[in-house]
Symmetry: C2
Subunit: 384 residues, 2 copies
Amino acid sequence: MPEEILNDISHRRYNALRGSWVLVSPHRTKRPWQGQQEKPGTIELPQYDPKCYLCPGNQRASGDTNPHYDSTFVFVNDYSAVKEMQDDYTSPNAQGSLEEMLLKAQPEKGKCYVLTFSKRHDLTLADMSPSEIVPVVKMWTDIYSAHLSSTHALAGLNKTDFVPPSSRGDHGGKKQDQYRYMQIFENKGSAMGCSNPHPHGQIWTQTSLPEEPAAELEQLKMYKRERGTHLLVDYAKLETEKEERVVFQNEAFVVVCPWWATWPFEVMILPKRHVRALVDLNEKEQAQLAEAFAEVTRRYDNLFETSFPYSMGIHQAPLEGSEEEVECSSLHIHFYPPLLRSATVRKFLVGYEMLGEPQRDITPEQAAARLRNCGGELYRNKIG
Amino acid sequence: MPEEILNDISHRRYNALRGSWVLVSPHRTKRPWQGQQEKPGTIELPQYDPKCYLCPGNQRASGDTNPHYDSTFVFVNDYSAVKEMQDDYTSPNAQGSLEEMLLKAQPEKGKCYVLTFSKRHDLTLADMSPSEIVPVVKMWTDIYSAHLSSTHALAGLNKTDFVPPSSRGDHGGKKQDQYRYMQIFENKGSAMGCSNPHPHGQIWTQTSLPEEPAAELEQLKMYKRERGTHLLVDYAKLETEKEERVVFQNEAFVVVCPWWATWPFEVMILPKRHVRALVDLNEKEQAQLAEAFAEVTRRYDNLFETSFPYSMGIHQAPLEGSEEEVECSSLHIHFYPPLLRSATVRKFLVGYEMLGEPQRDITPEQAAARLRNCGGELYRNKIG
Ligand SMILES: O=P(O)(O)O[C@H]1O[C@H](CO)[C@@H](O)[C@H](O)[C@H]1O
Ligand SMILES: O=P(O)(O)O[C@H]1O[C@H](CO)[C@@H](O)[C@H](O)[C@H]1O
């Protein structure tokens, strides 16, 4: 393969999905590490923790009591970053004034949910079977579907009678009825700012399209206009053919360490056909997506034999958008894990990375090979 | 002030320097924190550590011995992310092919230096007086100046007879003579990926203009074309008038928590007049810049009475660039510190921040007020 030289030389790779570059320095892991050590992921936890605000039957900060749920349970975040109702704000600065250009702000409304993945306090997605993850995929789909307006191109698809919980205590101003965007994500592990090990994710829904999905959507639209095909469908096909960055695949999905990965063991789950959002998936595909989640998280844990920290998130069609925006959107899932060399040595994206551009120390091909090779049973379930 | 409502509502602020948005959720620090705790910054260190590869007279990994230097000492990083010489690479993919669009790469050469700030192992910039920081400012200026081509618009300014150290062990391919960009930065503290407390920074010089300075340069050029004035000069003036985000100022520089700050206590050092790069500064301004560094780092340490971690970096004119690029560049220094509430509780830019957009929990005005109020003597030097 003529590209093998990229294993030996420093180079930049282009992220076609975001339209930006990342610096790759393959030889750099040789440097010794005397810096910060992470605590390895907790593994000894009770199945039920009376002090956990996510366990079934427990009381939360708001005073509400959790139901005796089984798999998933959704509630409005007691410390939401955006709220349904708040006072209005219009910039007091004259148009074209210095203030208007340099001190620009816009109010932002929204609704933040927390979603548990299991009633068990001691599990993670890595411990769960694909069929136990299916209810999580369905709940994500339900909550996305419930926030589409009736005129949205995807409205009505995969619809259930699920009604999102309402928030209380929000006051001031008018309630926002239609949101522009929904970000579904999970922060796993204390290294990723997670403060409760009970398996759960978050869902932030808001009036603006945030920077990351906005940058991706620009690239997806441009590619479609130029080539007539979908960037991520073409990309999934290319990677499936090339194989070297593929970690796992089933009929509907492929898991790759993307060509442009920033984090050492970053992966992306991609559908093989054009899927605009979760609501486009049929039952069989939902099960296969659940399998992909199980495969990624189990391999992560097996890699360094630890509960592997990461931030994970789903990008898909905006809740409100033009026909072109919805049609060009491609469902995909990003996993951003910080660990680099072991359960305790992470990659820091600091200094140069913050001020210059993202930089990585091993190639995505090396990372993919290692993740490919650590499938199979979860290390902590193996006997002896 | 009509903008006071921004203390109470969630909103997005526009970063005019980068052309991007940040989500601000002022009420969010009320949430309790049960997550990861940082180790507070080390303070008991020897003045000289026989095992430190940066202390005067010690041996480094390369086998080289450090001279008995006094303040600054520069050498080529023994584990450089980019190298002066390496094999060439031309993409094997046909133009317009899928591979060429989706698997794009370019080789990157460069030279990475390490620069000590003091011979003393136990000091940080916060412990040093402005006059002790002046040699650091001068060395940054020298090394920048030494990498300008003779035809660069800034060539010859502030020139000394300093010759940058040469690297050894780089092999393969031709040597790169002229670089496009130099990133000067410091990672301070183990929370910011620093593995040696000896006060030092890094300098990466490379063939491409990386993402962050490239995005800023676009904004700076656009502003100049549209308004005829310099964005950061106008901004420094506006902030000096408004006062509420000003942390410190002297005749030549102003330190602000920028309107668009992402990190809780992020600050920027801005010259009040148009300065394209370090070489534009006269002696008096160099001393005032050193004072600004001393003021920022001392206030940081005083804030939570700890050795405050941060990544800091200097943005200035590219080493190679069009007349417009050099003329529109504005010297400025970013400080990105992770701490949020105390010496041990940091802000995590994870999940939503990685997948959606940067989000902050206190307003820049609140941060500026706190930093303004903790000037004066360094907490650990106070008697009693
Ligand atoms: O070069 P150092 O100090 O060993 O390493 C540190 O700074 C580099 C440049 O910001 C980062 O790439 C590394 O992740 C970080 O640990
Ligand atoms: O909302 P949590 O889980 O308390 O908080 C965590 O996730 C948020 C969203 O990514 C971040 O803003 C916080 O910094 C992080 O600690």
